[in-house]
Every structure is written in structure tokens, then in C-alpha cells.
Amino acid sequence: MSRLYLYGITRPRDLPERLTGQGISLIESEGRAAVVSELDEGPVEATRRNLLAHADVVEQLHEDAVVLPARFGYILDSEDEALELLALPEIEQLLERHKGTCELTLRGTYEESVLAEVGAALEPLREAYRAAPSVEAGIALGEAVGEGLADRRARDQTLVLDELRPLALEVLTSEPAGEFGAFNAALLVERGGVEAVEKQLEQLAGRMSPPLHFKLVGPLPPYSFVRLQMPAVA
């Protein structure tokens, strides 16, 4: 019997042709359904194309109704294993909890001009570097810039999230990527609450940009809010 790749879990329904045409089907049981496709031999490659294909499936299904997106690379050995998964009481709880929710991801990024702002407070070190641009002076200045940037990040993340938190059911943050990343946040909101976040963000941008740029993606399925705490079975 072939293995199955799991995209996520949803409620039973008709799949759009665009998805059935890609070999995607549902395994249904008692009002719950696993979104799967048959898997060829070999491991799942985490390529850009595969990752985006996974996202495309769960995001399309999320447009109409609740989807619990699976982590990329979740493979079931058989249909029975899918049925076992669907029978877990935690799955039903999550489907109920996320009936009307969605996730918004928000990334803050600085433009390079933030360095001028950070550097403005570092006159003695800048002066020393300018006078004698040695590696040591460069590291001393650069380290101070790095620290200033870290302070700035912490301050801006607090400012932004303090204003958005009242609009969200839950907020998760993670380390920003890259030297100019300011913050990464995932907001769980009601589907009807997206507009309120957008409006608040416009206001924040009015006060904090430049140098802060925002990228808001969503409404997405609740990727960051479907974690189960289950004991591992030996």
C-alpha cells in the first residue's frame, strides 16, 4: 500500500477541481477529513516548489472553511494511520477552536537608514574609526551598532505588538531573519478581525516608517496555532 502525504485536516467537503486534478483527495471519518495525496518513493524534498505547493493546498482550502495545516513533510504509512489521526480527540478540539479563525503573519524589516539613527548616538566610536579605520576600531563600532540595533528591535517589537495584541486571540513571536529583520510575529485573529489589524498597522506605519517596513500576509490557515502537546509513544 502506498504512503500518503498529509497536507492538513479539515471538515468533509467537495474539493475544488484544481486540487483533485493534482491527485489530492480526502480521507473522511466522523465529520473530519485528512487532506492527502499519494506519495512516490523517496523522501520529500524541501524545495521551494514543494513548500509552496503545500502552502497553496492548505491556503486554498482555508478560504472556504477550517483547515489545520500539517507541518511540511508529514507522511502517513497507510490510510489506517490517517483514520487513527482523525480519531484523536485533540483533532476535533482544534477543528472547533479554529472554526472562525485565521493567522496573520507580520514581519518588520528595517531599511538601511536605521544604521544612521543607531549610529547617531555613537559619535566617539565613529570618530575613532574615522580617524584610524583599523579592524579593532571597526569591530568596536560595529559591535556598538549591533547592540544599538538589538535595543531598537526590542523596543519596536514591543511598541508594535502592544498595539496589535488587543486585536488578536493569540500572538506568537520568533527571531527575525537577517541583519535588518526587526521582528516576526504570528497573530491568530477572527476571520472578521483582519481589517482591524490592517487599520492599526497603517497607523503604526505612519509613526514608525521609515525606517520600519511591514509585511502582512494573510488571512492564512492557523499554521502557528495547531501545535499539540502529546506524549510520544514508545
Binding site: 524541501a46 489521526l85 563600532l141 520568533s174 517596513h213 509585511k215 499554521y223
Partner: protein, 142 residues
Amino acid sequence: MQRESSAGYITRAPRSSGLADVLEILLDRGLVIDAYVRVSLVGIELLTVDLRVVIASVDTYLRFAEAVNRLDLRQVDDSKSVPDLFEKGGEEVASTKTKGAVEGGMDAIKEKIGLGSGSDDDDDDDDGGNSRSRSRSRSSSR
């Protein structure tokens, strides 16, 4: 798919549109059940290396120092620094001039360190192959 807000500082996308959007949420999050999961993956390490730039490196510090040194601090809008106060009066001429200087400086820096505007997203790589070779060259240069 994406549009810039009127202010130009908010990028809005209704769905994930690039690798940077999905990498973290698909690899670190999403439904997973320890007892049942059968994860079978290749390529993860290479992909994540690409996104998680190590900040605390001498290389980065020197780049920061260089950038701060070249940036004209008068360009900072809300700066209350001394040069800013002295520039009052000749503001228009001064700001036009410094703008050019700053942009020229940053372009030079960006060119030097290979930091293009596309470094955040991934419109350039069409498959895993490209990002792999990039990761490799980056990690070997550290």
C-alpha cells in the same frame, strides 16, 4: 498578488507568495503529532541556513561600521543631532545633497556586500537548486 500601501511601507499579501513567507511556518510549525509523525525530508538544513544569517560575526560588525561611517547622519529625519540644527535655513539644498550622498554610499555598500533588494525574498530562485548553491557558498565563506 502584492501591493504597496499608499504609505509605501506596508506590503500586503493575502497568501504566502514566496519562500520567505512559508519557510518558518511550514517547517517549524503546523500540525505535528510526535507519536504518529513520519517526517522524511531532505534539504531542510540547506534552506534554513540561507535564511538565518548569523549576525554576531566580525564580518557583520565591520560592515556595520563601514555603513555608519559612510551614512550622513543629517539624513535622519527625526534626528535632533547637532548637525541637523546647524543645517536649518539651507535645508532644501542640504537635504538634496545629503540624500544623494547617502544613496550613493548605500548602493556602493550593497554592491560590495551583495545585499540587493531581493535578498529578503526569493523571486530569483526557481527551484531548490539555486538556493542550495547560494547557501553553500555562504557557509563556506564563514
